[in-house]
Symmetry: D2
Subunit: 382 residues, 4 copies
């Protein structure tokens, strides 16, 4: 398969910039494939498009040049010093495919806004003669979306749009536009994205696959690895507390309690759902500007063993959010493109391995998710 | 199945005492089944003997009464205050089946020593009219055993024994006696146990199953849960350092560098074998008397992500060694007894989930080991 | 000096119970003096009343027997099993001096309520023929107290009381009653206590000393030791985040955001005040029931060194709140009694070593506070 | 005071390179004074030479250019990218004052070797017309030095040197040469340095001051801040275990157990000497190449509170060794120069604040050391 486009909603953000820079670096032979799940030794060849063949474009509300964004990430320690400058020409080429603007949940002309998104995506596909494009949402986390009757069916949604009522938040606009343009979709954020019945209907109508939500890149990844250990050993978890300290733009956005609510909800269910009983545990997301692009999570678990013995596990995870997320964006774009090519339609629960709050499954066991992913790739993403 | 005996080499040690006390407490309805793997909700019914039907006996070199040992464990916080006193009569009944003495690697009469061990085990089986007995080694960790030509074949081993040359360390004597008595065997320690070609031959000759080595009860358990996470995410682990602080008798024994060498070897291979490349990392086991029966492990992992981003994970595990090990001893005795009943002979790689250094497999992935264990139980331990 | 009484507001709480039990155990020769600051080797002899000479009484709203409270603390691991039973008679004697009831900020008869408190305290002093009594507040943390004009002068306060308007929260009632009864006062909580101009006036009028607020028993203690290290080394602290997990009654009370606000305010100023510049840092207090009587704090500090090098320090403190607080209650009662005897009047800034939010000083440097305390004791608490 | 030279033994090592680069950056207005103890707000003006007036030279066995060394440190995250290039000319000027070669404990011509060291230092002083020079040893840690009779008196030492017997290890050669050249001396390493009676005699003869040993830059710094907290609170420390993971050249050198022995000895005494009773605790220094220039220390402390309550404190320190050490080297050079100018002779116990194993005092209390340092500076380093 060749000619695969990746359309990034939030194309100048840290995650998107790192993903673009990384793919260009891999193509130029300047970076290894570390962090790319589908490039790990032994991962099944799923007929995915090559990393070096991906073509990038996207929307962003701001217009800071990609090169400048990449250099800021180098200053912050996320990507190597000097790499952005070496890829200056390649970044400039991508620059030409980034449209300033994007979804706006408060527009008075929803039909026009959505049409413009669709046009931007199809123009990108046509311009590069791509077989297909996958739209990936990496914009800032939205507050929880209140349910509305217009979300229930595609017909009701279209009526509202035609009547000039905007009932979709930005994340859902990108999903709508992706489906309408015949593209697969990935929501890497905890925002609502494609998770509305009306949008599920649209995806079926246009016969496209989609995946989400909320990339699993740190604390939740470790929790998903550890919670099954307690379950298997029949150790009774009494509490699981977590504190997440984040700098960077993601941290600043999550300093808004409304936005944090989406993320906390998505993070919080894993332990109880894995263990099968309620587990208390405060969970915090805090903005700490001094951390720059780093994030640090501390988790504290109390558990009871045989004859009531009381024990604890703590862990501290220190990482760069963008460096963890970016390769997963590339993995997901390739997997969804391959699923699209193989004829898959609707949600892809086999990609739960990548998400905190996976669509179409309630399995949070990391190893089981990994097995499902490998089986999916091994059968050609069918 | 009923009438299953558990013969504990090291019957008055902390692990054995906790296992015996716990089984008696479960039988008396005084304890929950927390920590027992085979009693977790959803674990397949493998036709195992019931915990409350197990009959205990064993060897120990010391003669401190079980009740006194149990009370010391209560003082140290391992088992509930008051529980030993409530089970006084049951403990006294077990007391009658503990033989003071046991294997001695320095005897001048190896044939006599081994015959005595076999006789003690068979007398116990006969006295209680048991269908079968599983011998479990929970004695102190031995130094590494130097290879000897007499270990290569059963014939050579028997010639040496008949000639009055003791070529087996204590742990191997218990395995020899178990097999000779027609019993299954579990080695819960990093000692050599049954891992000699001559003993494998004997197990086949007597058609008995066995499992080992070195129960996985803390740091290594967490490592086995986390290392596959790094592998799946294609994150490159640069170093994995570990410090283990242990009080109690186990800690005092491991303060001997010779004994610690066995354990360090058994702990050290997991990460490199799971990831498929060498990973540096100092690993320490230290005796800290002030910890009492507790152990604390701190692990520090450095890893590299996409575009070389450098990140770290740390964890601290604080637990009671005996509370973690004892239920696994009960699980293993039941599983090996069921396998024996089902006709399995030789090593049981399906029990790798329980061990740091599993016989018959090099899989260290905890989730894969758990799946193999469940499949084994689901097919009746065949 | 002899004949010193300690009147505990909240006499059946965990801290008071541990303090009483501990003093009785020291008197009976059943406990060492570990944790008592004034009993450390080398601490100056300040002419303090002996621990074993202290006489206890107090108020509490509940009437659970002290023995029962002490046994619960033993079950939770705070005090040794068996100790409460051995001191049964001594506890029963103290029981007779605990009055069920106490301050009530919502009474319609403030004058009567306050008179009753004063009467209870003076009756206790008379009954035992004590030279003096120190009143110590160890009741649950109150929400912040809104400022009122009646707090500004003693005259205004008395007018309000006489007019039947209750303008004092419970903590301030205990301070009022203490001063009115001619007693020294300690507020071990973050509640307002004696920190009102009207009460300062009353203390001067009655010539009594007082100290507070909010005993420093864990995270803040460690912060007070570490923050001066950063200052001295001229390392620039960028953030200092803290998460406090508490079980027990204190945790349950602090699960109320109103009550937690008092404590967070008292905890939060230390770092910035020590370093002399603002330091960001989220600070959480969470109730985790499964922790029982334990508390755990995790602090994460980012700092910058020479040429901008970015570094971090983390610590985890795991302790029993009551075991940490109780000996300080005894120290403080003895120190305030000695100061009273020596003629000191008003706030005692020399006792800042014991408090998160010390009255009369803004020094948070633990070593400087300790030096000031030792100097105070060395000059006979004058 | 002006015209102060700093002669660095090990001038191309990480610590020396960072110190030189940092001083040049401060002079050029390209760096703040963070990390410099004597530049902290409120630190007394001790009449020290200005950082920007220091003139650097030194010995090193290798001849990698300083610029290259500095760029490696930038790649490793210790110093800012781009800074070495901006200071290229200043670095080149220092380059001219670095002599390739230095002390060699195995020479057959000790008198010649020592004379050459003295000549190098005096030539540097003359070349720049400096008032005085301070020699600072920042070479690699040596193994412990066996005691020899020739170390006892200056006369015996000189006889041995004249007889062609080399009885001084390299660190002591630098001290000898410093004193012989009339220079103050600082030993920032755990090597023996000036700590021989014969050298103390020589320092008195030449009327020069000196300080050491072993800069306190991480784990030990934190221990020195925390141990007095336990002492003051009369909490009984049961164990204090520490694991130090180091990359870089220092880590590689300390991977040699002989060299590590010097450092462990210097680190190990603090806790027991501060608390006044023996405290168990394994202490490890491990080389972890993947850490690059970073070091990480984990300490685990068990302690007992009132009525025997068992509690723990853990901390993890993550820093860049050179960024922590380099400003202290500048502080020490300035303080020793000022002391020399003020007429101080012999060891300077007032500088204990900087050292793990301070000469001339056994005080390890960080706050007390800081007070002594401030008093010293306030009286003009007299």
């Amino acid at each position: 398969m060749s000619g695969t486009g990746v359309w990034l909603a939030g194309a100048r953000g840290s995650v998107a910039t790192t993903a673009i820079l990384g793919a260009l670096a891999v193509r130029a032979g300047l970076a290894e494939r570390v962090g790319l799940v589908c490039e790990a030794p032994g991962f099944p060849d799923g007929g995915l498009p090559a990393v070096s063949d991906l073509v990038f474009g996207g929307h962003d509300l701001v217009d800071v040049p990609l090169l400048k964004r990449a250099e800021r990430l180098a200053d912050a320690g996320v990507v190597p010093h000097g790499l952005p400058a070496r890829l200056r020409d390649d970044l400039a080429a991508v620059e030409a495919d980034i449209v300033t603007g994007g979804a706006d949940g408060r527009t008075r002309d929803p039909a026009g806004t959505l049409r413009r998104l669709v046009d931007d995506i199809t123009a990108f596909r046509d311009r590069h003669g791509l077989d297909r494009v996958v739209v990936v949402n990496v914009t800032a986390t939205e507050p929880p979306t209140p349910a509305r009757p217009e979300h229930a069916t595609l017909a009701a949604l279209r009526r509202a749009i035609d009547a000039g009522t905007m009932v979709l938040p930005a994340s859902a606009c990108y999903a709508y536009a992706a489906f309408e343009a015949g593209c697969g979709h990935v929501d890497f954020t905890p925002s609502v994205g494609a998770r509305l019945p009306a949008l599920a209907e649209l995806a079926r109508e246009r016969a496209v696959p989609y995946a989400g939500n909320d990339g699993k890149t740190g604390e939740t990844l470790v929790k998903a690895a550890l919670a099954p250990m307690f379950a298997g050993r029949n150790l009774r978890v009494g509490s699981w507390a977590g504190t997440n300290l984040l700098g960077g733009g993601d941290g600043a956005n999550l300093a808004d309690p409304q936005a944090a609510a989406s993320k906390l909800d998505s993070k919080g269910r894993l332990v109880s759902e894995t263990l099968g009983y309620p587990v208390e545990g405060p969970l915090h997301i805090d903005y700490v500007a001094d951390l720059g692009e780093q994030k640090t999570a501390w988790d504290h678990v109390t558990f009871q063993g045989f004859l009531g013995a009381r024990m604890t596990l703590q862990f501290t995870w220190q990482g760069y959010d963008s460096a963890l997320a970016a390769p997963l964006v590339l993995d997901l774009a390739r997997l969804v493109a391959a699923a699209h090519a193989a004829g898959r339609v609707g949600p892809l629960p086999e990609l739960a391995y990548f998400f905190k709050d996976p669509i179409g499954t309630s399995t949070h066991d990391l190893a089981a998710q990994y097995d499902a992913l490998c089986a999916f790739a091994a059968r050609g993403c069918r």
